[in-house]
């Protein structure tokens, strides 16, 4: 196993641990922070997979903007008392304590399947395209996607305005 593969393994394991922490921690603010960490690790992985523009979007939008939205919403929806926190922790660990076991079991199962049939995920890949520049593809062949994105953004903006309309 070369150094690159070791780094990939470490990143994937860290991402899964961050995701499990996000789900398992009883406090919502810690969940939001865990999600931001998972987004940052995902951005590094995407960067390593030769997709730098998507990595920048992931880091700035998902790790930054969405975390800020989550934390704002959590702070707007009331504080939790220590008694409530203790009660929530008990219920939370009873419900989510099984998640690490499920994750480990699925990992072991997939590893066994991979060892039984190592060619299970071997794909017949098509030839790479002549043009692979994201700017040319985004502004050329996928230009209409931008209109779709604008429409979705406007729909979201109008939706939020409607939710908070006073009259």
């Amino acid at each position: 196993m070369n150094n690159d593969m070791v780094l990939n393994s470490v990143l994937v394991v860290t991402l899964v641990i961050a995701a499990v922490y996000t789900v398992m921690t009883p406090r919502l603010i810690h969940s939001a922070i865990g999600l931001a960490i998972a987004s940052a690790i995902l951005a590094i992985i995407i960067f390593k997979l030769a997709s730098s523009l998507a990595a920048v979007f992931e880091l700035s939008v998902c790790a930054g903007l969405i975390s800020a939205i989550f934390i704002s919403t959590i702070s707007l929806t009331g504080r939790i008392t220590p008694e409530e926190l203790t009660e929530r922790q008990k219920e939370h660990f009873r419900k989510f304590g099984v998640l690490p076991v499920i994750v480990i079991l699925v990992f072991v199962t997939l590893t066994i399947i991979h060892h039984i049939n190592p060619n299970l995920l071997t794909l017949n890949l098509p030839a790479p395209p002549a043009e692979n520049n994201v700017n040319i593809i985004l502004w050329g062949s996928r230009f209409l996607d931008l209109f779709g994105q604008i429409v979705v953004l406007l729909a979201g903006a109008f939706g939020v305005v409607t939710f908070f309309r006073e009259k």
Binding site: V12, V23, L28, I46, A54, E58, L65, I69, T122, V152
Partner: protein, 106 residues
């Protein structure tokens, strides 16, 4: 597909699957609205990583990035609208527990 590429594809696929399972379990097991949205967010992250991985494996990173960027934009809009709904639900019911929110039940 070369041996190294195949090994990398398998490793990332397992990570994506585990990430998706964590998000799905979060959505299924929780009664808190914010935590359910966090679970959806984790599942969307798994899908984003899979799109990027597929682009890397097939040598079409440009196309995969355009899809990933579109997915991220949709993700943000979903989160913003969901948070707007959650804040309004909290203003009306003073709770985010779906067991106690029964206004919409016919």
């Amino acid at each position: 597909m070369t041996g190294d590429m195949s090994q990398m594809f398998w490793m990332y696929s397992v990570g994506i699957f585990l990430l998706f399972i964590a998000g799905l379990y979060c959505v299924l097991a929780t009664f808190n609205l914010i935590r359910a949205v966090i679970g959806i967010e984790l599942m969307i992250k798994a899908v984003t990583l899979f799109i990027i991985l597929a682009g890397y494996i097939t040598g079409r990173t440009g196309l995969a990035q355009t899809f990933a960027i579109t997915l991220i934009v949709i993700e943000v809009v979903i989160m913003v609208v969901a948070m707007g709904v959650i804040i309004n639900v909290y203003k009306h019911n003073k709770t985010l527990d779906v067991r106690t929110i029964r206004n919409m039940k016919g």
